[in-house]
Subunit: 243 residues, 2 copies
DNA sequence: TAATACATTAATCTCAAAATTAATATAAAA
DNA sequence: TTTTATATTAATTTTGAGATTAATGTATTA
């Protein structure tokens, strides 16, 4: 039928203008990652509506694409969805921050202990490298006293360090689960008006965790992870709406 | 403009044929839950392709609808997605079952301890009730020796019991996370050819967990949860493809 | 025979518009 | 004035079809 003609014309077009490489991500994939990063980085006001039509023009794609992506992000806990009334950025609440911190402690303490037991020298090297990059950034922050200019760099370095704690735990499920929780925690804590979730104690905290890990001291490592994150169980973050 | 005429005609149609109640779930919601339940119950062969066109006619909706739902289920870990080559039922693997069991132990032990510390008499009542229903079904299974006829009933009762263990832990995040893990575990274990994940030791296991919880003996409760689930870390489930 | 290129089919991905519902503004009634 | 009902606008949900890519079959060549 004439379907073949269309396919042929399409192959001619591909020959003339080139085609997308198979390894390239689709539009969906691109937009998904970008939108996720923006949600984690606090690019939207908490509680703000995420209208498909608005994002559609912003990303130059269809509303269906956006809808699929928002559904996925809602399953990742980064977007709230209500039937017939659309998608929203989750509101920041003390309770939610509290629960996310607890879950991080549970997963990172357990995962780190397993990494300490299973990991070899290559894991130690990876962890040391991640810590080096992170502490470099944090010392620059502490010298200038300004988080803002280095917030983006710090975010990726801090995530890398904490993910590496679990890198040798032997369970991809534990790592991916932790990744989801970590992102939600970051979204809850990040606030453009203040410190992006950065604290001055971070330098000593991260160092203590690193040292305990390299010493293969699992109980101490668990304790240091707990101390590092337990701050979020106490402080009120008065700058953030408590709702 | 003439847009209003259409809206008016639509209101006439609603008057004549009735309209969906606001509390009713949308098509999406319905199909999502049904498809999730089927995936957990083992209605599809593991590794089977989930083609949007097939499911579309089955559920009498559009392919976009199915696509959105499959994306959501993929984020829940119940469906595998690959760009440009669609959705599949996850294959059953020993590694995955192992990791899911480990995560269940971690979450249920921790969650149960917190429930023991926080829960009141109403939680005890709920747990006792859930166990009563479960043990009733399990004793019937053990007397007949046939799991099949009661598999569906047992599945919901077992989930209810294990969810109730965390019901008073004070963290909705921990409960929802556990729910996701539990469903994936069930999907991995369920196999229509064998026992749906049921074991004869379940009766004494569940009873031991209940007793420890009612005794407010957190360490013992943790141990019993571990013993109950650790079976999945040892046995090979030779009946299931190990891949 | 095996491997490669091409033709064909079948799937996935993208899109825009129609169908349906929610939200808002306005008028009528209490 | 307050409330309620109605008209209007704006959003979400659903659909089907076109665009693009993957998978399969067939012929050609080494």
């Amino acid at each position: 039928m004439y379907y073949l003609i269309i396919l042929y014309l399409y192959s001619v077009k591909q020959y003339l203008f080139g085609k997308r490489a198979m390894s390239d991500p689709t539009v969906e994939f691109d937009v998904f990652n970008n939108l996720r990063d923006r949600l984690i980085a606090g690019a939207f006001e908490h509680g703000a509506k995420l209208r498909a039509e608005v994002l559609r023009v912003e990303y130059d794609c269809s509303a269906s694409n956006i809808r699929e992506i928002l559904f996925r992000l809602s399953m990742a806990g980064l977007v709230d969805f209500q039937e017939q009334r659309g998608f929203r950025v989750p509101v920041q609440s003390k309770t939610r921050r509290h629960e996310l911190a607890e879950m991080r402690i549970l997963l990172e303490a357990e995962g780190l202990e397993r990494s300490i037991n299973n990991g070899g020298v290559e894991w130690e090297a990876r962890l040391t490298g991640a810590h080096h990059k992170l502490s470099h950034i944090e010392s620059r922050i502490s010298s200038t006293g300004e988080v803002e200019p280095l917030a983006a760099l710090w975010s990726v370095a801090e995530k890398e360090f904490h993910q590496t704690l679990l890198a040798a735990c032997g369970s991809t499920l534990m790592q991916t689960t932790h990744g989801l929780i970590y992102d939600q925690f970051r979204q809850q804590v990040v606030n453009a008006k203040t410190n992006y979730g950065y604290y001055s104690d971070n330098i000593v905290d991260h160092k203590a965790i690193l040292d305990a890990a390299l010493d293969r001291n699992a109980p101490l490592a668990r304790q240091k992870v707990h101390e590092h994150l337990a701050r979020n169980l106490r402080e009120n973050h008065a700058d953030i709406d408590t709702k």
